[in-house]
């Protein structure tokens, strides 16, 4: 596929911003916590600005890969530092930028080992940015692992409820995933007939026989699917979310789970279209199971963060369902839903984080009447819940609608079940809202303060993105559409 090298290496600049932030944090003495926070906010803000710029500057008419940079690294093995973005990657970069920036602002009140915390978060996000922009299989794998390792420490040190267990479970699960991805990548490279890790070269022509594609796609689907919370491999996600501190939950559910879905798309679907076709029914079944299952299990949870964890499982099921339809609309909807769910769940976790910081409990039974005590904070929570239900004119609705529309065409039963789960989903979210926000204000929470303007900033950013995309979904759909048309048009 043709591409033009960029005049200015914006993508590398984006990565360098993260690394520079990391170094700046390391250079700041640990006792100046305020300075560390400011440095983090500045550098994460810079990444957000660059990702917004990239999103705007991308030429949608031309399509394809833009802002491409390529430096050969190990020519003998065909490994190159090769970055470029298309209509799939840009929304993800933007999502990462937004969630990263807001997550940093969300933990403005944090006191414990601030320096190490922010340093690890920066390392994590470097991996995420790198993965989304990389076009080289080797680098994709490396970035994947870079983004996993800080997670363990972030949860095990700064977490809460059963943090060691959660951290260990998450790490083992995700490493198991990466243990499936590496063989798949090596298998593909070995059988490609060209010693290269270059994604675009590997895509050209029919390099892989259908049988090879089936094997590779299955490994990639399960490997990345674990990270995307695909049905039987989802249990790390609620546990991990519960254990993780607020900012990490935001990044984790908001961005890391998207890496899984993005990996299935970028590596699996791009390289093994026939494997995709072969396994699509399985994907649809698992995704539908995830939607129905996540919704029903969420009904019975007693911990606020568990509820959101299971809602993530259900929502990522919708993404999986979209990917399994093999249609333009399905892919569009899936990528849109990835973005929308990232923003929504970040808002969810940040408002739950605020509630937890103030009330020191996440048990639904102990909460109640918060809307009278902290109306502004709960407004964000309710908005996130309504987005999760799929109320129109809020971002998630469009993703779900488009996915359902394409799914009913391809898999009528799965589509009907997924639509049916909407009603239970409403019950599931509204139950939580009712139990935590409504009811008479409790005496023990009477003295709590509502959210301050400074802390409201990240939530306002997330909320306005939700509403903006809800009213003007075209902003994102047009972008995704360029990439989908190209992908589906290829065959």
């Amino acid at each position: 596929m043709a591409y033009q090298l960029a005049d200015f290496p914006f993508l590398t600049t984006l990565l360098l911003c993260c690394i520079a932030g990391l170094l700046a944090i390391l250079a700041t003495p640990a006792k100046h916590t305020q300075a560390i926070k400011i440095v983090s906010a500045v550098f994460s803000g810079l990444t957000l600005v660059i990702s917004i710029y990239l999103f705007i500057a991308y030429d949608q008419q031309a399509g394809g890969y833009q802002f491409v940079e390529r430096v050969a690294w190990i020519p003998a093995l065909g490994i190159a530092y090769f970055n470029g973005v298309d209509g799939f990657a840009l929304p993800m970069l933007l999502l990462t930028g937004i969630v990263f920036f807001t997550a940093v602002l969300t933990c403005w009140e944090m006191e414990l080992r601030v320096k190490e915390f922010f340093a690890l978060v920066f390392l994590l996000v470097t991996g995420v940015f790198g993965l989304f922009m990389s076009l080289d299989l080797f680098f994709i794998f490396v970035w994947f692992d870079v983004s996993l390792f800080p997670m363990y420490l972030l949860i095990a040190i700064w977490g809460s409820t059963r943090k060691e267990y959660g951290a260990m479970k998450l790490t083992l699960y995700l490493l198991a995933g990466s243990a499936l991805i590496l063989p798949a990548i090596v298998y593909l490279v070995v059988h490609s007939g060209a010693m290269t890790f270059d994604l675009l070269v590997l895509m050209e022509g029919d390099r892989f026989t259908p049988a090879q594609q089936r094997i590779a796609f299955f490994l990639l689907y399960i490997g990345f699917g674990i990270l995307a919370g695909v049905f039987p491999f989802h249990t790390w996600s609620p546990v991990g979310h519960v254990a993780a501190p607020t900012a990490v939950s935001m990044i984790h559910a908001g961005v890391l789970m998207k890496i899984g879905a993005f990996g299935i798309l970028r590596v699996g679907i791009f390289l093994c279209p026939e494997g995709w076709q072969y396994w699509a029914p399985l994907m649809a079944v698992l995704a539908t199971c995830g939607i129905v299952y996540g919704t029903f299990v969420g009904l019975n949870q007693t911990d606020l963060k568990y509820v959101i964890g299971y809602s993530s499982v259900a929502h990522m099921g919708i993404v999986g369902l979209g990917l399994s339809t093999m249609t333009i609309d399905g892919l569009n909807g899936a990528v849109f839903q990835m973005f929308a769910h990232g923003i929504m769940t970040a808002l969810f976790f940040s408002s739950v984080g605020y509630i937890y910081d103030r009330t020191h409990t996440k048990a639904i039974a102990e909460l109640g009447g918060l809307s009278r005590i902290m109306p502004r904070a709960t407004t964000f929570f309710i908005l996130a819940a309504l987005t999760g239900i799929g109320v129109p004119c809020l971002a998630s609705f469009w993703g779900e609608l488009v996915v359902f529309m394409s799914c009913v065409r391809v898999y009528p039963v799965a589509g009907a079940l997924a639509i049916g789960a909407l009603a239970v989903g409403a019950l599931f979210m509204l139950r939580v809202v009712q139990k935590t926000c409504y009811g008479p204000p409790l005496k023990k929470f009477a003295g709590l303060k509502d959210i301050t303007a400074a802390l409201a900033v990240p939530r306002i950013i997330l909320a306005s993105v939700i509403v903006l995309l809800g009213l003007f979904p075209g902003l994102l759909f047009d972008m995704i559409n360029t990439a989908t048309m190209q992908l589906i048009g290829l065959r």
Binding site: K169, L172, Y173, P232, T235, Y293, F296, V297, L299, N300, Q301, T327, I328, D329, N332, G333, G369, S371, R372, L386, V391, P392, C393, F397, W398, V402, F404, M405, V408, R409, G415, A416, I419, G420, L422, A423, V424, A426, L427, L430, R431, Q434, C437, Y438, G439, P440, P441, P473, G474, F477, D478, I480, N481, T484, M485, I488
Partner: protein, 634 residues
């Protein structure tokens, strides 16, 4: 879809009328929430301008020949284009006017009602949200757009029912309303998607065009999609079997009940049916189902209303039964009868609710016996207005309900549905009976006679200025009295919508109005006999049969059934099963894997640990064995 004869003026006016409430909602929620008077002014201003726009549009297009369509692209994805647009035709225009008028009046009324409530600004914000969603719904140009705003209306309803969320019952009712309507909407969405897959478009003019739909869809598919879409109508209009959310929704502020849960939002279901009348009439099965569901709901709700003591509940049941009545009219094939009853009902039911509110406001109770005892009859204008409204509801001659009810009855008879006609007659009888039961209970209290009205009001109500409330009551009463005489012009106007009017000939049974009036008179007499006259014990005939009283009072045990099903099937059944599966099977397997790894480590650890000399001995033995092996082998 080509925009037909662009008339920019009308479109700009409509768009402005739609966007103003949205703007008001945004401004109130973001900026002026804490400044009560300003918020109210913004919201009422927006609603007022919308009303002016509606009146302007009505006047402008009274003689319209072709519907006016404007569409823009909202979103494109692959081959899928989702449009947003405005469709102005007689049906949407009349509904637009009704919604705008009642929103405006109720918002003005709320000035008095909500005065002093801490959530005053928020209340007006939600009202604006509702006005925006509902107005946009009425002029939507595609079915998908209707669905979108249909959901938003449901959201506004959820927020407003649970407005006093301190009360458990209020938040519970809001949740119930949302989830039950959502259940219907699942079917709606499914039907809509199926329809889209078959037709490739959801534009209403295409859908209601029998030629295109008939050519592209098999009859079975038409029936299937029509029934699925009807599921959404059942949910939204609180018809059987999803009718139990509406009585609970009375937990919200009364003006909200008047606006959303009687006049406009619940009528959206019936509106959708009349909107898609051309489509539904292609499937006889769907029409029959509609007629049946309408009949069942009407009878069920009427019986429930006969034993209710809560004044708002009575009107809520009556709303369900009247909506069922409209669906009967539509299901029998008369678009005009249904639509006309929808319009008249919106007026008099809003009136009845607002009157009920005046009683509740002054007596501090919802119980009509208590209201009577507290001297409810001293509230002259409320009593007179209630009588006017109840008269219209019962179909007494000069009032608006009389005309629309006769239309439906006549049509049921004409179209050859004798059973439905009989059921409708029984329903009309019961309606009159329970309406006048309520009036007599309030007018002729037993026990403590004319106690002075208490000074203290209940928690939410504070004495606001009275004039907005009274003015609004008289406005609505005036409309109720007058509207019936506009039957013919309205018919001519609506007939221009085209489809479905060939059948809508006004009834020509001269005996019918007389018979209906006689029926109503008998019902009133019976109510008088049981509740009004001096010696009456104020115990109805239903209440003397414990079994029936219990059955009706418990809403035919529908609520219990749903609760039971929800608890056993959803919470204790599937949900618990899945949770157990998650804990035991999936997590259990994983933890088991972890534990067995550790166990294996222990075993290997034991081999490596312990007395070192045993290991040495084994090593020596191994070496000796090796030597022997090599020695002999070599």
């Amino acid at each position: 879809m080509q925009p037909a004869t662009p008339l920019p003026n009308s479109l700009i006016v409509t768009a402005a009328a739609l966007l103003l409430p949205l703007l008001a909602f945004g401004v109130i929620m973001l900026a002026t929430r804490s400044r009560h008077r300003l918020s109210a002014a913004i919201s009422i201003g927006a609603a007022g301008l919308s009303l002016l726009a509606a009146v302007y549009l009505l006047v402008q297009h009274w003689q319209m020949q072709a519907p006016l369509i404007f569409q823009a692209v909202w979103m494109v994805s692959g081959q899928m284009t989702i449009p947003i647009g405005i469709l102005l035709d007689p049906i949407s225009l009349s509904m637009f006017a009704v919604v705008a008028a009642i929103s405006f009046l109720v918002q003005v009324y709320s000035l008095g009602y909500m005065a002093g409530d801490p959530g005053f600004g928020c209340y007006y914000g939600c009202m604006s949200l509702f006005a925006w969603a509902m107005l946009t719904l009425t002029v939507s140009s595609s079915l998908l757009q209707i669905y979108i705003f249909w959901e938003l209306v449901g959201l506004a309803s959820y927020l407003l029912i649970g407005f006093w969320f301190d009360k458990f019952s209020a938040s519970e009712a809001g949740k119930k309303a949302f989830v039950m309507t959502r259940t219907g909407d699942v079917a709606f969405l499914l039907g809509l998607v199926l329809l889209w897959l078959q037709l490739g478009t959801l534009d209403i003019p295409v859908l209601t065009n029998p030629a295109t739909v008939g050519a592209q869809l098999s009859p079975g598919m038409i029936t299937l999609t029509a029934l699925l879409i009807f599921g959404g109508i059942v949910g939204k209009s609180a018809q059987f079997p999803l009718l139990t959310w509406l009585p609970d929704a009375m937990e919200g502020p009364t003006p909200v009940s008047a606006l959303l849960h009687s006049a406009t939002m619940v009528a959206a279901g019936v509106y959708l049916f009349s909107r898609l009348f051309g489509f539904f009439s292609l499937s006889p099965t769907a029409m029959a189902v509609c007629l049946t569901i309408g009949t069942i709901s009407m009878l069920l709700a009427s019986t429930m209303a006969m034993v209710a003591r809560d004044i708002k509940q009575v009107w809520a049941y009556s709303t369900i039964s009247q909506l069922g009545f409209m669906l009967m009219g539509l299901g029998a094939g008369s678009l005009f009868a249904g639509a006309f009853h929808l319009i008249t009902h919106a007026g008099f039911k809003a009136l009845l609710f607002l009157c009920a509110d005046v009683f509740i406001h002054h007596c501090g109770t919802n119980d009509m016996f208590e209201i009577g005892r507290q001297g409810g009859r001293r509230l002259k204008s409320a009593v007179v207005c209630t009588i006017i409204g109840a008269g219209a509801l019962s179909g007494l001659p000069p009032l608006s309900g009389f005309f629309s009810k006769e239309m439906i009855l006549g049509h049921l008879l004409d179209s050859g549905h004798p059973v439905a006609f009989l059921a409708a007659a029984v329903g009309a009888f019961l309606t009159t009976y329970y309406s006048f039961r309520l009036i007599f209970i309030i007018l002729f209290p037993r026990d403590s006679g004319d106690a002075p009205p208490p000074e203290s009001h209940d928690g939410h109500h504070h004495a606001g200025s009275e004039w907005p409330m009274t003015t609004v009551l008289w406005c609505l009463a005036g409309v109720t009295v007058v509207l019936g005489f506009f039957q013919t012009p309205l018919h001519d106007f609506l007939a221009r919508a085209g489809t479905g009017f060939q059948a809508a000939t006004p009834a020509h049974h001269s005996w019918l109005p007389v018979a209906a009036c006689l029926l109503a008179a008998v019902a009133i007499l019976q109510a008088w006999f049981e509740y009004g006259r001096k010696k009456a014990r104020q115990i109805g005939w239903v209440e003397q049969i414990p079994f029936l009283a219990d059955l009706f009072g418990q809403r035919w045990y529908l609520d219990r059934l749903y609760r039971y099903l929800l608890d056993t099937l959803v919470y204790r059944g599937v949900s618990r099963l899945f949770t157990a599966n998650d804990r035991r099977v999936i997590d259990g397997a994983l933890d088991g894997l972890g534990r067995s790894t550790i166990g294996l480590g222990r075993v290997i650890d034991w081999v490596h640990g312990g007395m070192i000399q045993y290991r040495l001995m084994i090593m020596v033995a191994a070496v000796i064995g090796l030597i022997l092996f090599i020695g002999w082998g070599g």
